[in-house]
């Protein structure tokens, strides 16, 4: 049985990846929608299943389609009565509306694909953010060391130990201490200039 799925996701890459995956499986026809009038898109496309990014405000508009059409009940999270499955979907940030009473065994693999994809993208985002934070931390430590070496005539290992000791004494993270130190020094530097 070929299901019609309406996918609502503003993240182009993720949406395309999921579309390819589901369409490639052969049992689903995937349509895309976005913008303010999703209820109209649903009425037009008459999908069996709607999959939507939970970060969008548009979920509230979708909730109303059962009141507009009053045809069939909309079931949350792929119509599963399995709370663990629903919790996994919420944690991944994706949810689905079952509009035509599709059987659970047909919906489950589709939602599993969506959940896996949302998890993977979230994972990539987190990794990117961590990498950026690390890079910034390294940059600030280099800067702090340079200030200490120039202004207080320390060697590089001395400068690093000085920063570590400061962090230990203040019971704070090295990154915080270094960031504050650099900000302070740079402020001081600016103010002391005519």
């Amino acid at each position: 049985m070929a299901l019609t799925i309406l996918l609502i996701d503003m993240d182009e890459d993720r949406a395309r990846a999921l579309e390819e995956k589901l369409a490639g499986s052969g049992f689903a026809r995937v349509l895309r929608a976005q913008g303010p009038d999703l209820a109209a898109a649903v009425e037009q496309a008459r999908p069996d299943l709607v999959i939507i990014d939970m970060a969008l405000p548009d979920r509230d508009a979708l909730e109303d389609i059962r009141l507009v059409s009053a045809a069939k009940p909309v079931v949350m999270f792929a119509g599963t009565d399995d709370p663990a499955f629903a919790q996994e979907a919420i944690a991944a940030g994706v949810c689905s509306y079952n509009l035509s009473g599709v059987a659970l065994e047909d919906v489950r693999p589709i939602m599993a694909s969506a959940i896996a994809l949302f998890q993977r993208y979230r994972h990539v985002e987190t990794e990117l953010a961590t990498a950026k934070a690390l890079l910034n931390e390294r940059r600030l430590i280099e800067r702090a060391k340079a200030i200490l070496m120039k202004d207080r005539k320390m060697s590089e290992p001395e400068a690093y130990r000085w920063l570590q000791k400061k962090a230990m004494n203040e019971a704070r993270k090295l990154a915080q201490v270094v960031a504050d130190f650099v900000a302070e020094e740079e402020n001081h530097h600016r103010e002391s200039k005519p």
Binding site: A39, M54, P57, D58, A61, F77, I90, A91, C95
Partner: protein
């Protein structure tokens, strides 16, 4: 500053994850968090901004949130399992009164105002006069099917004989999309909470023609709902959370704090919108004093059972719920007993009754309360209806 907050957090008790939407009346929860009131009262609160009421409902239902600043009809929808699995909730305090606007496109608003002036009609009747003879129902937006806004707008329209389905077509438009939807012609107006009416007005897309007060003066708006199991497992922290919110409500209601609160709310992590648009909907804000959220005055934090009953009555009126035992449901969810126990150390006046006659007061009045009477605000409806004449006995 950060050290002080860290110390307070260390002392705090059980974790309380509170969901909120980008709305003016999230203010007490935000202030209670930012000022350390939650921590002082022994609650390790975490505020989570959610993009939709649907997210709030699902996360409460599946245990991703412990509590939320929420529209009361949705509390009953979750409790009754009307939109997913059901979850027991309790409302130990109310958050706000008023603050919604009914906003129409500039063209329509001007025609309505002109008609109201020429023929001496109230705004709703003037809208009905403008719609007479039209062949298509007027498309209007509300924020959720189970929202205060849906009930207030339907009530207001009905007083002018306007019926959803025949004269107007109601659909759900998230407030953050309302300006776009007005401009594209998808809707001709909407009813939403502050600051979204003001934002539409500032963008030039719409004009506010009425407010909550024009439907029901000092209408209850947001409530604080907590998962039943969390409330039972953490009775002390629950009372602490209520105290923190009541203290924050006092701060938010003081006119001299308006610009401070507006600036706080405008931060990216909270509302992320122009602070001036928020300011106009706060007590003490400079514009439209009839259209402001109220947080403390007139027993605004008290969880009135008569408010719960009005919501249930109206939900049944528009076929949003089947027949249920309204009295029992209202008493189970709206917990004035928790409120009274929670605020006892604060030395504030507390109402003696759990219900009041909604709509019976067209002017300010005095409410029986201990230790001293409370100065109450009017609670009249636009059609002078009165709900619930018999006050229920108080539960302590």
């Amino acid at each position: 500053m950060s050290e002080v907050v860290a110390l307070k957090t260390q002392r705090a008790g059980p974790k309380l994850r509170i969901g909120f939407l980008r709305l003016t009346d999230s203010a007490p929860a935000i202030v209670a968090q930012e000022f350390g009131y939650f921590a002082e009262e022994g609650v390790d609160a975490e505020l989570l901004e959610e993009p939709s009421w649907a997210n709030i409902a699902d996360k409460l239902a599946y245990g991703f949130l412990d509590a939320a600043v929420i529209v009361p009809p949705l509390v009953f929808a979750i409790e009754l399992g009307l939109r997913g699995i059901s979850q027991r909730l309790v409302v130990p305090c109310n958050i706000s009164m008023g603050g919604n606007t009914i906003t129409l496109t500039r063209d329509l608003a001007q025609r309505v105002r002109e008609t109201a002036k020429q023929r001496g009609l109230p705004t709703a009747q003037a809208l009905a006069a403008c719609l007479a003879g039209q062949d298509q129902p007027l498309p209007l937006g509300v924020v959720h099917a189970y929202s205060t806004h849906n009930l207030l707008l339907r009530y207001w329209l009905a007083t002018a004989g306007l019926e959803a389905g025949r004269d107007v077509r109601l659909s759900v438009v998230p407030p953050a999309r309302a300006v776009e939807a007005l401009q594209s012609g998808q809707i001709a107006g909407f009813c939403a909470g502050a600051p979204w009416g003001e934002i539409a007005a500032r963008s030039g897309a719409g004009i506010n023609v009425a407010s909550s007060d024009d439907v029901w003066r000092n209408a209850p708006e947001k409530a604080f709902a907590v998962r039943g199991s969390w409330a039972e497992e953490n009775p002390q922290a629950l009372k602490g959370a209520v105290r923190a919110l009541v203290r924050a409500a006092q701060f938010c209601d003081a006119p001299e704090n308006a610009s401070y609160t507006a600036a706080l709310l405008s931060r990216q992590r909270y509302l992320g919108v122009d602070s001036h648009a928020i300011l106009s909907s706060l007590p003490g804000g400079p514009i439209s004093p009839d259209n402001q959220s109220r947080f403390w005055r007139g027993a605004a934090t008290f969880p009135w059972r008569s408010h719960a009953l009005w919501f249930l009555d109206q939900m049944a009126r528009w076929d949003l719920i089947d027949a249920v035992d309204n009295q029992a449901l209202a008493a189970r969810v709206y917990r004035s007993d928790i409120y009274r126990a929670a605020v006892a150390p604060l030395n504030i006046s507390v109402p003696l009754a759990d219900s009041k006659s909604e709509g019976a007061h067209q002017a300010p009045w005095l409410l029986d309360a201990l230790p001293t009477a409370i100065a109450m605000l009017p609670d009249g409806f636009c059609d002078f209806a009165i709900f619930g004449d018999v006050p229920a006995p108080a539960s302590f």
